[in-house]
Amino acid sequence: MSNNLRINKNNFIDHTVRISFKFNGKKLFGYKGDTLASALLANNIHLVGRSFKYHRPRGIMTCGSEEPNAIVQVGNDPALTDPNVRATEIELYEGLEAFSQNCWPSVNFDIGGINNLLSPLLPAGFYYKTFMWPASFWEKYEFFIRHSAGLGKSPTKPDQDLYDHQYVHCDVLVIGGGISGILSAKLSAEKGLNTMLIDDKNYLGGSTIYQDDDIFRIDNETSNVWLKNQIEELKKKPNLTIKNRTSVAAFHGYNYLLARENLTDHLSGNERKEKIRQRLLKIRAKKVVIATGAIERPLIFSNNDRPGIILSSSIKKYIDYYGVKTGESISLFTNNDSAYETAISLNKSGVKVKVIIDIRENSNSILSQKIEKTGIKILRGYTITNTDGYKRINSIEVMKLSKDGGSVVGNKITYKCDCLGISGGWTPMVHLFTQSGGKLKFRNNDNVFIPDENKTPSEQISVGSSNGDFELDDVINNTVKNIKIFLGLDKNNYENLDIKCSKEKQKRNIWLLPSNKPISKTKPFLDFQNDSTAKDVKLALREGFKSIEHVKRYTTTGMGTDQGKLSNMHALGIIADTTGTNMGELGTTTFRPPYTPLTFGAIVGRNVGEFFDHTRRTAIHDWHVENKAEFENVGQWKRPWYFPKNGETMYQAVQRESKAARESAGILDASTLGKIDIQGEDASEFLNRVYTNAWSKLSIGKCRYGLMLNEDGMVYDDGVTTRLGENHYIMTTTTGGAANVLSKLEDYLQTEWPELNVYLTTVTDQYSTMSICGPNSKKIIKKIIPSLDLSDESFPHMSFKNSKIDNVNCRIMRISFTGEHSYEINVQSNYAKDVWERCIEAGKEFNITPYGTETMHLLRAEKGFIITGQDTDGTLTPSDLQMDWIIGKKKYDFIGKRSLYRSDTIREDRKQLVGLLTDDPKEVLEEGAQLVESLEKPIDMLGHVTSSYFSPNLNKSIALAIVRSGKKLKGKKLIVPMENKNINVTITDTVFYDKENKRLNA
């Protein structure tokens, strides 16, 4: 059956361009201008998917972003396929392939459909109640639940498409290209304001652009013709940017909005190549006009979810815009005048409207009078009590409503039909308004939440039907009036338009329509995507849920990818009716961004792969690469981790490097350590205040290790600081802590101690640092700088000298993080690689061994030196680390001093740093492993391992750990319970190697 549902008349579909596409593997045809949904309907395909829980057959229900059912998988490549796309929003292109979701093995025969028969057993909260106990069973249930739930399939490979981000600044942003948005944009552009108009469709004009009837006239033209002319004029404005196929996802404070612009999704594969697929617009607008319109509500009655049941306004759009008949025999069910407009359109196109069922007792608007003249049967004060047809509706049952609308009376009448249009009134799209912080108010006469003009954030306005105006004259007149004030306009051409339209006079609303059957025997669906019914909401209320947020989560109403655009109002209405609450007091659930789903690609833009984060490389990096270093990420830095030789494993390399460093000479690129240049006449006093130990007596040319605390007394960072001159110091920080230390020091200088004359400059990148250690380090330095006096008298441990290597100035410090006799050479970074190569060359005869971070960690652990951030975690004081020696007891104050004798920090049973030796010296502990005293349950956790290595220099396993009351437990045996064994350990001193520090001067 091809194309006999297509009527050949309209301006929106290009009948000269035929497009072939595939749905569930079947080749079909449509035309340029179609959506996938309109093309499927033209091919008489309504059944497109199965529902989430009961696997009921579901059809296309709407024509826009609110579509709950027709969500499909696009693309046949399982690596690049796009799940959960609304068929109503996919523009047809040559070669499109789409598939139904949530059905197996096929949409026509779905195994999961058995759930429909079980539905009395699957009420709200079924999963919560059934699968909660015993807790240990959850893992087993989860497998089955995950397999029977879920919508589309995720792609399995990285996205190959290109995405972009763009910052946009404008005077006025208009969201929505319907008639109120067009008028707003026009008024704004005519005032000379830099204006951007955004619409999610590929055309402008909203629903008015196909409203072609003599009832609706503006200045003696039909509304569609008038609007078309306005749009043509608008497009000529130089200070206006129009973004079609663009959807605003989020509206944050200060008029900051995110919008997703689709650039290639409507193009065929070949046309897409090398183009950017989507662009995320980050918009700052001085003023925002929300003209997002309204969406039609369904009606809630039993079996209201069958394929062929479509919103009445969507049926109108399919016939008027796409030229597609949604059925041969259509009935309409309504509580308002909208369905009459649909009936007029169908009648004009020669589609038989069987019957209009209107729950209102009467209706005498211009629209209903026009329908009466056509002879279409209208049943007033009636409701539909049931529908029939499994994969497509085939009949409806109709009964008279009682006066109060609470029940049905009389006999049921059955009508055959292959399509049913439903209209439950209109819901203003207030999502963006509330996201931005606006508050809603409830309008009782037509049951809508609309923006409260007194609780609207500044510099924004809602107009048109998103502001609750539904009649053409109200939309135009109120938009013009309010925009005039909002933008401060003078008189304009739109203030006295001659507008003719139908006015709705009678209203009647019943959230849950009655049936002749008890509610337990009916299936009145509320949320079509998540398969929750009005019964579920009532059950939740009976079970004691009161808050709408709780009812929502318990029943999952409104929690699908459509975020309940169709279902939320009815859920609220039923709750209000059942509990006897006014809907205005009940309020709404929270509207959260994004308005429609965003792709991850659009969110991340170009920030993928190597652009995900900055990479910092030292000046010596290329040498490390040439010498086959394995790298470790330390913050943004790439640091050599170890230098494997001849296929060594990491363990083998580290053992070799560690031995070489102690037996002859090792060299480390330490350039990543933070370096802060400190100058000013109060520099010494400043250091006194930020470090725990005393600094004023440090003489020029000397270095000192310092520990920095937070005000809470916990160790924050550490490093060596050198006094270069009277008022000049260079501070080193940990690699990871550099930026934070600088910020913290700046904070104190700017806010607490502005009286200090001190200047801080980061020089981490300007200076490179190489550390040469080991008994032969002295000989190597001597070879490079023969003139330098390296005697212990002239150049003792913890001192510094300015020197030159050839003509390159360098600072040489005799400091050691390994416990070996060591030198640290600091040179300007652009000379660093050359100097490094000089050191390697000079060290060759001593087998100088480059080592990485792993060996550095091992060597310092042998000496019991801490690494802040590895052995500390922000909960340890210097005393906890057995570093009481570094506290300047005589100092009046320093950051964190007062906290060191708070009642909590002087507790003796705090966790404290200790050394650990395993009873089996070959057994290496896992970092993070727990320490316990006994295995008797309940097991008391005493602490955990923070550093652990096999020491080649001691030929045994060593570890550092933090343990409750550790200081007092020296010699105590503890157990490290692992998955498959228990390891016995003994608490020791933290220094394992060269306890007397003899090697520093060796």
Partner: protein, 91 residues
């Protein structure tokens, strides 16, 4: 995401700044003379107001200067910005 008018640079996006919490909490000049309770008051207790709050902000990805901001935490509206050491504007 709001816009902050840095007193040194002008209006910039919030992403350039970092918030340093409640303003006008002076570090005690003589901490050693305080009781545990008094020190804890300085160290831990912050108001966390819903409404008008005085805050410290740092233009960390800009001029790196600290300054004060009067912000309504319920709607992020910024009522005033002033430099360190300056008196807060009278409400």
């Amino acid at each position: 995401m709001f816009i902050i008018n840095c007193p040194y640079c002008g209006e910039r996006d919030q992403t350039e700044f970092s918030c340093g919490g409640e303003a006008h909490i002076e570090r005690p000049k003589q901490p050693t003379e305080l009781s545990d309770d008094q020190w804890a008051e300085y160290l831990f207790m912050r108001k966390n107001i819903k409404g008008i709050q005085f805050e410290r902000w740092n233009h960390i990805h800009g001029c790196r200067k600290w300054f004060n901001v009067v912000r309504d935490t319920s709607n992020d509206k910024i009522h005033a910005v002033y430099k360190m050491g300056e008196r807060p504007p009278v409400k």
